[in-house]
Symmetry: C2
Subunit: 352 residues, 2 copies
Amino acid sequence: MASTPREAPDDQAAKPLLAVLKGERRDPPPVWMMRQAGRYLPEYRELREARGGFLDLVYDSDAAAEITLQPLKRFALDAAILFSDILIVPFALGQNLTFVGGEGPRLTPQLATTPLDKLTPVPARLDPIYATVARVKAQLEPAKALIGFAGAPWTVATYMVAGQGSRDQSETRLLAYRDSGAMQALVDRIVATTVDYLCGQIDAGADAVQLFDSWAGSLAPVEFERWAIAPTAAIVDAVRARRPGVPIIGFPKGAGGKLGAYARETRVDAVGLDETVDPRWAHRELPGDLPVQGNLDPLALRAGGDHLARSVAAILDAFAQRPHIFNLGHGILKETPIAHVDELMAIVKGAR
Amino acid sequence: MASTPREAPDDQAAKPLLAVLKGERRDPPPVWMMRQAGRYLPEYRELREARGGFLDLVYDSDAAAEITLQPLKRFALDAAILFSDILIVPFALGQNLTFVGGEGPRLTPQLATTPLDKLTPVPARLDPIYATVARVKAQLEPAKALIGFAGAPWTVATYMVAGQGSRDQSETRLLAYRDSGAMQALVDRIVATTVDYLCGQIDAGADAVQLFDSWAGSLAPVEFERWAIAPTAAIVDAVRARRPGVPIIGFPKGAGGKLGAYARETRVDAVGLDETVDPRWAHRELPGDLPVQGNLDPLALRAGGDHLARSVAAILDAFAQRPHIFNLGHGILKETPIAHVDELMAIVKGAR
């Protein structure tokens, strides 16, 4: 899907994940898992208890680098993904960010009641993230890729407007219907900062980047074009112009039947599929050379057993003729037994 | 999409909704709104305050018939939909049903902890619903259709297992992964009762029936085939065999890219589209003669204004060559201004 010339760094051929993102098929496919550095790992839970809250860990580059690398010490994963959070961008845009135990993140002031121009951006809040990326890169084996990431503008906006996670993202969708100008100003601001942020991660050593549009699924079709596709396309174009050759994965969770339009119109290098997508349908619907990533149901991994083996086989089979990165359809669940991940890795890597 | 012979009652030609369900195009299209008998109407709120809780109203056939007809007194809707609830089936299957103010329904005992065979079915709990249907039918103008309904087995099962609404339906999805035999037994039980229930509504006067699969969207693809498509197909076949000629609308909310498979494999007479479906994509994806129903974002109706007019026009335009019933993509929101519904009706009926 690359429509602009790329400078391919020498080491890319050695990294299976990058090879697939450039359009090669690999058998077995490279594999990583969303939220692979997280609470299902006892070593993560230990470090978190010892060193404090979630945001403290993100901003402690030593700890964040260690956490990023933890899952690669256990499993034959082909990529590390930066341990961080999509709400770092709102934090850099000037909102206060806290994580309330058990209730999730809080951003203040919420933009539902405070105009955007009351926020004073603090770009330096991005710098420790770059330090983490550099630390991970220095310790990563050459065959492993390092994935940086950001939230897609729509998803980030839903948190900035509501000040927290929200059911059906109604508050932000309503703002978009009632005052699309204000919504556009917010999205434009997020786009600009996200471009800088992703370029900064790339400069620090990220081999590829992923845009998480976790709440794309609640958008009506015309809104999806304006708030999910268009801002993603703007980021893709800008990052590609400034840092050519670095693949960009788009993950529009819940896009459903709008997945084909997303893939064609955003010009991302690869599309992440959530667990509700039928891989056979996706293979028919998406451009034939487009790499895809996904899409095992995290609940099937938690449940394990015969069903897990069959689910994995169905995905591998559906994407047997296409560049494919094996992944979950969303983040690994904290209740997932380690033994089930071992089993998954064995199946994907063909050991059984 | 009728694949079996139908006996067409004489009055069907006079009901625009039934004509479209039989495959005719009507311009302007017939229109109704999911949850059109509900809390956005001041006359409903008054009656509810005066006469008690939600379930009391459902089981008071006089009140339920009055509520069913309320929206048709205000708006030029082409159909009434029975005022009832999808949890009447679990109630008839022997669970206790209560509606806790502000928290939604509760079913006890929940099947996550109690075996199905501990429930003692109480089929007579369905009878008052048939009485309501008959009362509505007796008062309905000939050009208006009466729609009966039930929850689709997967959606009903999620409430029966968890005992209430649940985030991502995880408990029930996990049961399906871990003990598909137990899940199948539950779904088979729901299928059998739902067939009886829909036939009972038809015998009492329902002109068409709709199956609401409100939580179809959380199912992984293989699970979607087993728990959304297969039980719906079983109901469609059985109802069609027992009551030929009565159209069945399937509404698989959140089916996304699996919508085409749902339409082809369930053999429903029409497919309801949720508000996230791009109507242009649906028109390409679905069989050309299949009637569709939908799919305005209820939040766009709540917001009103120019955007509402444009959204409605886009839907009408996309389905200009196909049998189409105008509807929302899910239930009307209780905050919706009456004036916005008037505006919607004027646009759809071509008055502006």
